[in-house]
């Protein structure tokens, strides 16, 4: 009885803690952004109107509510700049994630097949880049990819090219940067699923007449799909909203939505449009997340 009383309260608190967190740090800011997205830009402080003033009385509040409109969202749909930015963001995210999967899967698979003590070493090697600031690593890439950078020097020295190749401010540079930065997020969930898979399963497939590639394709790969799903989501979602890498490594002719958002907010001082763009981005990203959640729930139910 006594012990129950001791444990019941913290346990209950622990159960509501995530909700408190979500309300304070997600829902409340989201409400602010949503409100601003329905406002109009103004040369004022803050730079939008209407402003809800709780001290101005009921009538002022209702008229402020009436002044809200979805004009900003209409603008987003009607103006090619935004549509292009969304399409480009999605395209970049999909291509980069596909490349990440193609590169990350063999690495994760190789790691999972290493002897146990080497697996720990490989794990550290994957994580170790995180110990350096992300920005510094991207600047290092600028160094490597620039006109007289390391990459061009190597290519020239090997006589693979006759004059320096333009890498910087191209999509290639951006993809290199993205794949490099996100690779651990792809490898780690894949490694986690592959490492806990029973090695006897591949042996059983071989024993039943499957050559190695069939054993992989019919047994290992389907069983690693939860890891593939997790890795893809961990990469796609942040890449869609990526700002720093395209800004530093890609050219300025095609912007991703993160860059467009930044321009609207800081250069144009158009907070309402920037907010609307952010809301649309959020909705776009929520759809795959919800789909993934449903998929996982289905798998859990099947497992029962």
């Amino acid at each position: 009885m006594n012990s129950r009383r001791i444990f019941a309260r913290p346990a209950r608190f622990a159960a509501i803690a995530p909700y408190v967190w979500m309300v304070l740090f997600f829902l409340v800011p989201f409400a602010f952004v949503l409100k601003i997205s329905l406002s109009q830009t103004a040369i004022a402080q803050p730079p939008y109107e209407p402003v809800f003033d709780l001290t101005a009385g009921w009538d002022a509040l209702t008229s402020a509510f009436a002044a809200l409109s979805i004009d900003n969202f209409k603008l987003l749909i009607s103006d090619d700049i935004y549509v292009f930015a969304y399409v480009r963001s999605l395209t970049v995210a999909i291509i980069a994630t596909a490349a990440l999967l193609l590169i990350g899967y063999p690495i994760a698979y190789g790691m999972a097949r290493l002897p146990k003590r080497w697996q720990a070493v490989a794990m550290v090697l994957v994580i170790v880049p995180f110990w350096t600031s992300f920005l510094i690593r991207i600047y290092a890439w600028i160094n490597i990819l620039q006109h007289d950078g390391l990459l061009n020097q190597i290519l020239l020295a090997l006589h693979l090219v006759s004059q320096p190749v333009v890498w910087l401010s191209t999509d290639t540079a951006m993809y290199i940067g993205i794949v490099y930065s996100y690779l651990p997020f792809m490898i780690l969930p894949l490694y986690a699923t592959l490492a806990k898979m029973e090695p006897a399963l591949e042996e059983a497939a071989a024993d039943l007449g499957a050559p190695p590639w069939q054993a992989f394709w019919l047994v290992t790969f389907p069983l690693s799909l939860p890891g593939v799903g997790a890795g893809v989501l961990l990469c796609v979602i942040p890449i869609v909203g990526e700002f720093v890498i395209p800004d530093l490594l890609a050219g300025s002719n095609a912007l991703m939505i993160g860059q467009t958002l930044w321009l609207e907010f800081f250069t144009n001082k158009d907070w309402p449009v920037a907010s609307a763009a952010a809301i649309v981005l959020l909705v776009m990203l929520l759809v795959p997340l919800l789909l993934y959640e449903r998929l996982q729930k289905q798998q859990l139910e099947q497992g029962r």
Partner: protein
Amino acid sequence: MAEELSGTNIAAEAAGADALPAAEQGLLRIEGVAKTFGTFRAVDGVSLDIKAGEFFALLGPSGCGKTTLLRMLAGFEAPDEGRILLGGKDIAQALPHERPVNMMFQNYALFPHLSVRDNIAFGLKRAGMARADIATRVAEMVALVKLEGLEKRKPDQLSGGQRQRVALARALARRPQLLLLDEPLAALDKKLRENTQAELMELQRRLGMTFIVVTHDQEEAMTMASRIGVMKAGKLVQVAKPRELYEAPRSRWIAEFVGDINLFDGESKLRDGHRLVIGTRDAGALVVAEPREPVGAGKLAVAIRPEKVKLSRRGPASEAGHQSAINLLDGVIADICYLGGTTTYKVKLDSGGVLQASVANSARLDVDAYSLNQHVVAWFGPDDCMVLTS
């Protein structure tokens, strides 16, 4: 019927080339096979012949190399030395998917994402079998292991016993010439294990297939196998029928590994016609029948199984006593272990040693039972003793 015998047929065809009759050559011949991991010699020069239709058990403690040997037969390890001839063809370096051998894995290794049906059909699809034939064969296998109605279940929706059956059906579906079973019953509880043992034996007899089972459980090996190979430290130390293994083990180690045994180190040896009188420190002079093979000069021991030892309060009646009760040892009951069907008594001998005697509880009431510290006479005949030299 023809299919059931296909294993032997193929063996016979292949043997024809070697000009050796199939019956003589057997289905599987292992010749001087060795495997080293780093500096550890897991399998150290094993040679063995297995005939078609045999139920062979590889028995040994963990780490003795029995699993490595089995994995070499399946193709998961390649031997460093030696040959593995299946039906006269050397398969030592063949890859697992190229061998007409299937294996039932210790933890079954069922594919968790596939249904029972698809698990069983997996090997048939890889063999390029026609769809209709696969359906027929799967239905046949499902019926064989009595899993009707569970075809659509996933492995994690099955009980341990059902999973074991799926694994068996999957391994049998391709009608392999040789079925390897790695600790097939280790994951089952005792009652289920006993039933499954009987079913495995019945299945093996009905299909006429060759089974090689790896186990560390000597009772399991004795129950199921027609022949047992005992392995120790990478070497095959004895290959024999269960009875021979139990009643005539080749060494002290085997005698102790297979069943319980009383061992008395011998100190002196005297001939007395067809008998030997061996002086032991712990049990005095023991009269034993002379072994078929002459006893060498080295260290020897007298061994006697606990159930061969008789106990009585006063010693045997005189008319029975001449032959079978030549070894009479006085002592007191030092420990009693009641096991239901039998009771094991530890008798502290007056000569110093301890003798274990296992007595069948043939009466329901405890009129025959002995109590602690009770004086008893333990006796056994010369034919019940073994002389072990190594």
